[in-house]
Amino acid sequence: MTAETRTMTINMGPQHPSTHGVLRLVLELDGEIVVKCVPHIGYLHTGIEKIAEAKRYLQVVPTTDRMDYLAPMSNNLVFSMAVEKLLGIEVPDRAKVIRVLMAELTRIKSHLVWLGTHALDIGAMSVFLYCFREREKIIDLYEMVSGQRMMSSYIRPGGLLADLPPGFEATAREFLDDFPARVDEYEDLLTRNRLWVQRTQGVGVLKRDEAIALGVTGPALRASGVAWDIRKSHPYMGYERYDFRISQGKNGDVYDRYLCRMFEMRECVKIARQALDRLPSGPINVEDPKIVPPPKHRVKQSMEALIHHFKLWSEGYSVPRGEAYVSIESPKGEFGCYIVSDGSNKPYRVHYRAPSFANLQALPKMVEGRLVADVVAAVGSIDIVLGEVDR
């Protein structure tokens, strides 16, 4: 009698707790070994790029919040930078420093959700609770500056929605003073935890050349040994004036990606502190009433300010014909924004280069030939947000 082996095809997701949203994976299994993994995406496709074509530039900002909803301010920032490039304007120093500060807090916030859910997937329940405890404090800071806990739309073309409110600096400092000890706490639970190490080391390996060919960016690329971070290689918003180091791994496995992000959280604290220390006084918006609305008190006194106010909120501003590609280091990797303008008050075409989209493409390479259980670890380690993958 001869034994017959057959592979089995199973469906993981789109409703599965460890796919981080609505990701669907079709897995072909030989016993417990994954022979083939085919990701299916699009369950959260919202047509954000098409919507942008029907909106005035300022109206596009709230839609950007909804891509990587764990890091809305990064999305705001990249869109604003692209519009500013087309307009040929540069925001004042105070706005730049606040943008850096908020971008770094956003990075911590995003990494906390990654760590919490990733650890939860692998079976470490308490880490999740701790991470969300700290994340709550960053959300409070979001609420202080923008009135919104998640969809902030705080960073806008030309500057910011509003200046930092009284008490913000003290609250932010309190958080930053406390946070490194919290990172120690997470590391105590995981870094040398035998179960954690066994589940992550040597799992989901992505080699340096593979990562580059697949367009992987962010901590996932750095974990594969490529020291490339846009904040260092093409500094924007004055990142060149901050003292910080970028993470770099060696083995390109789940464990190295974990270490890279843990390292980044500590560096974020350093950058945010420097931003608070150097916070210059001055305006937070470009002084161009054609782009940024005048302050409310002026609208009541000056005819011109009233006209600017009316024009901006009804017609918006027109952006010169042309195209621009801008990219930033978002918590997930290279977040790019490509805008084509036809000279009108609405973008002709907007395209977002979403890091999660490119990074997810590397998943089959990480899991084929490995165990089913490793799929869960690998998905968690690339830190995808489906809102950004599907757009």
Partner: protein, 166 residues
């Protein structure tokens, strides 16, 4: 810097004289419009050339120029190349009429696979030689390509009107 002095522009002109249709620089971003036929070999050349090393494809997308009031074919596929070691960016463009296929570059950078599928899905530009050209974000039976400028945005799909959804 004059765009013609740019190393990548010079080398590409040398290698693919007829293939380089336009070269320009805007906001400090260098853009080359290439002939559809040379895009794959040109990308391979840019990736493998020792001085250029454009080993990384940042982004690949396309624009429907229907309402842009510009001469030439309707669609434009846009490639954003990057060199990790040289820290350079370069934008390439290829133009195609409706229905004309553009050669795939997924043979040069594996990562182009999904980006090309997205362009195929949302703009309906086919990529010749693509290993797996299927829709990626929309359902397989979707009609039309939403990012086209003539896509009807203010009407509801037929299956909705006819109550076919179950």
């Amino acid at each position: 810097m004059e765009v013609e002095e740019h190393l990548a522009v010079r080398k590409l002109r040398e290698r693919f004289a007829q293939g380089v249709l336009e070269a320009g620089s805007h906001h400090g971003e260098v853009t080359l419009v290439l002939d559809r036929g040379v895009i794959e070999p040109a990308c391979r050349f840019l990736r493998d050339d020792r001085d250029l090393v454009f080993d990384f494809l940042s982004d690949l997308t396309a624009v429907d120029r229907l309402r842009l009031d510009e001469p030439g074919p309707r669609f434009e596929v846009v490639y954003h190349l990057y060199s990790i070691s040289r820290r350079n960016r370069l934008r390439l463009k290829v133009r195609a009429e409706d229905g004309q296929a553009v050669p795939t570059v997924s043979t040069v950078w594996e990562g182009a696979n999904w980006f090309e599928r997205e362009v195929f899905d949302l703009l309906g530009i086919p990529f010749a030689g693509h290993p797996d050209l299927r829709r990626i974000v929309l359902p397989d039976d979707w009609e039309g390509h939403p990012l086209r400028k003539d896509y009807p945005v203010e009407t509801s799909p037929r299956w909705w009107e006819e109550g076919e959804i179950t």
